[in-house]
């Protein structure tokens, strides 16, 4: 596609009233500078070559007023039974204390709104330090504009049993607007937590969702991180989740893309010391004219790292999936074991898939491999099920369901697994 000029994109942002608040002043003013100078230039076109950004560039997005979130909004149906006392709710980017519930956390644990802890030492030392996306407007946009956000701190050797549910809700608003959810997670040595980050559009309105996540795992920390994207079908979602891992840390992430017109996810996991283990899995179910683009980086900077990526995609109608998975192994990072797999199932004749594994390995004693497949349902499979009495439609649904299931089964939380099964069934039943 043709390149998107800097001005087209920037235009939408610089006119926004970027409220430079007192909190995180340094981060914000630095970001403001970047935003003013950084260019979404043609030299980066390779990174955006396949991605049609029309749904962003054809709109002018306003920022959302800060203030009180709608306290009377009915959100019970989105609650997870496992997280009834470990939930943070943000409505159009504003923290909603009345919808949130944090109780019974172990001593020293912080789970709360980032603005309530601006001077916290861990927050000050980590916020904004991991997100070095090159020539990027989206991270600075979030830096400048995030109002509320999530701060989670888990002290040394502390285990949070219940999953923490971060629920980002987008209500109906008439004008296109943008929201910049923010998460900073800091897990100290040998701590353990499960985070479920969800984005839900309650309407089908136009908005731009630009979440930035920073996960800092100290030695031996374990984190499961599920990300569920059910944005409005006319929304655009540009995600920047980063995790940085110290020795013996484990980080397992699963991203599920169901909603939004445009989804661009750029997960990065950085191996910051020896002996880490991480996964960057994904499941994408798209149809209509949805575009789902994953550009991931698994960045091995030290020796003895294991990483695994299974990215599964189902494409129906005219939808378009893009995958670019990078595995970096630095010169002295020996004994890396990294595997990447992108499996695509095309269930229409008009869907489109671009897939590009990209391995950049500078060490000589590593095992890195990748695989990408694009397939359709096999006639013989359909006939087999049909010969047992299932209709052709049902047979196809079941086969798609089976394809998607593998990803869903790795969910650490039962109700999330059930929720996703429902979504998978709903997807396969769509006309």
């Amino acid at each position: 596609m043709s390149s998107v000029s800097t001005k087209e994109l920037i235009h939408a942002y610089v006119q926004l009233p970027g409220v430079l608040r007192e909190n995180f002043k340094e981060l914000r003013s630095q970001a403001k500078e970047n935003l003013d100078t950084c260019a979404f230039t043609t030299k980066k076109d390779e990174e955006w070559r396949f991605t049609d950004l029309k749904s962003i560039t054809s709109n002018k997005f306003e920022s959302v007023d800060t203030g009180i979130a709608q306290a009377d909004l009915e959100l019970d149906e989105y609650h997870l039974p496992e997280a009834m006392s470990s939930r943070l709710v943000f409505i159009d980017g504003n923290f909603s204390p009345s919808h949130s519930a944090i109780e019974g956390m172990p001593d020293g644990v912080i789970v709360g709104n980032i603005n309530d802890f601006p001077e916290h030492e861990q927050l000050r030392s980590h916020l904004g330090t991991m997100t070095n996306y090159e020539d990027d407007v989206f991270v600075p946009l979030n830096d400048v504009n995030f109002q509320d956000g999530t701060f989670i701190f888990v002290p040394k050797e502390t285990v949070i049993e219940q999953p923490i549910h971060i629920l980002n809700v987008f209500t109906h608003r008439n004008n296109p607007h943008f929201v910049t959810p923010r998460v900073l997670f800091v897990g100290e040595m040998y701590s353990k937590a499960t985070i479920i980050e969800e984005h839900i559009g309650l309407s089908d309105n136009v908005y731009l969702n630009v979440p930035v996540n920073e996960f800092r795992l100290y030695s031996g920390a374990h984190v499961h991180h599920a990300r569920i994207q059910r944005d409005s079908k006319n929304a655009s979602h540009i995600s920047r989740p980063v995790a940085m891992l110290d020795a013996h840390a484990e980080y397992h992430s699963y991203t599920i893309c169901l909603g939004s017109k445009l989804f661009r996810n750029e997960p990065r996991v950085i191996q910051n010391a020896e002996e880490v283990d991480f996964t960057v899995d994904g499941l994408v179910l798209i149809d209509g004219e949805q575009i789902a683009d994953t550009h991931s980086i698994m960045d091995h900077r030290f020796s003895h790292g294991n990483s695994h990526q299974l990215h599964k995609v189902v494409v129906n109608d005219q939808a378009h999936s893009i995958f670019n998975g990078k595995i970096f192994v630095a010169k002295d990072a020996q004994k890396i074991d990294s595997f990447q797999e992108n499996r695509n199932l095309l269930i229409s004749d008009t869907g489109k898939v671009n897939t590009k594994p990209q391995l950049e390995i500078f060490a000589d004693d590593v095992r890195c491999s990748h695989g990408a497949t694009i397939g359709q349902l096999q006639d013989e499979e359909v006939f087999y099920l049909q010969s047992r009495g299932l209709t052709e439609q049902k047979s196809r649904e079941l086969l798609v369901y089976a394809f998607a299931l593998e990803s869903v089964e790795s969910m650490a939380v039962k109700s999330v697994e059930e929720l996703l099964l429902k979504e998978v069934i709903a997807y396969t039943n769509r006309d």
Binding site: F383, R388, G389, A402
Partner: protein, 251 residues
């Protein structure tokens, strides 16, 4: 029960005829064996009868219980009580045997206005059928044919047959690739299922299977047609003299 009249069929979109005028009548309570050399069209016949979309009937009719099923979809034929045990059962990772069978059983029940079974009733029903193929409960929760040995796959076909209780079953090379123990289990299973109310058509290359499942009728298929029919002695003749000899005689 089944009446095939002058059946001609081609691979969809191609000219070459694979079935060139097959006639076959199967009645309730009967067991038939169709034998023939490779490429004679016997497997194709079973696929055409069960409605494989890869084939197109160019002439002739298939009547099942008096109803013309020639143009029906495979699932509609299954609802009427037709079953095909595949020569190469398909692996379907991610869907368990139980899920498939419950969906299949209840779909067939609905189509015939019979009572569906709820999950608990169905579980009991399934377990009661396991002994037919001497398999354990965990068999139900494995993904369909995924990672199964050749013998397990064939047993699974017979298990599905037992659960769905069809009126007419085609067993396509069910004996191929089975060791003697598995062959016994599979054929015992078929014998347990066979009843005066249903019918079975075995497709096989070798006479071996017929030592375990006794057919009432044996047909020889060559070059897309049934060229000779008789009783078990026909199979013995084939075993002794081979297909070439028979071909010469017929010519």
């Amino acid at each position: 029960m089944l009446e095939i009249r002058n059946l001609h069929a081609v691979v969809e979109g191609e000219e070459l005829e694979i079935l060139k005028g097959v006639n076959l009548t199967v009645n309730k309570g009967e067991i038939h064996a169709i034998m023939g050399p490779n490429g004679s069209g016997k497997s194709t016949l079973s696929k055409v009868v069960s409605g494989h979309p890869e084939y197109e009937v160019t002439e002739g009719t298939i009547l099942f219980e008096g109803e013309d099923i020639t143009e029906m979809d495979a699932d509609e034929r299954a609802h009427l009580g037709l079953f095909l045990a595949f020569q190469y059962p398909v692996e379907v990772p991610g869907i368990t045997n139980k899920t498939l069978l419950r969906e299949a059983y209840n779909t067939i029940a609905r189509a015939n206005e019979r009572e569906e079974l709820d999950p608990l009733e169905f579980e009991d029903y399934l377990v009661s059928k396991l002994e037919i193929i001497e398999m354990k409960d965990e068999f139900l929760n494995r993904s369909i044919n995924t990672g199964f040995s050749g013998g397990e796959k064939k047993k699974n076909e017979i298990f599905q047959m037992a659960v769905l209780n069809p009126r007419l079953s085609f067993l396509d090379e069910t004996d191929s690739g089975l060791d003697i123990d598995a062959l016994k289990v599979v054929s015992d299973g078929v014998n347990k299922i066979a009843s005066p109310e249903n019918a079975i058509v075995m497709i096989t290359h070798y006479q071996r299977l017929l030592n375990y499942i006794k057919p009432d009728f044996v047909h020889v298929m060559m070059n897309g047609k049934i060229v000779k029919s008789g009783d078990i002695s026909l199979a013995e003749e084939l075993e002794a003299n081979g297909y070439d000899q028979m071909q010469k005689e017929l010519a």
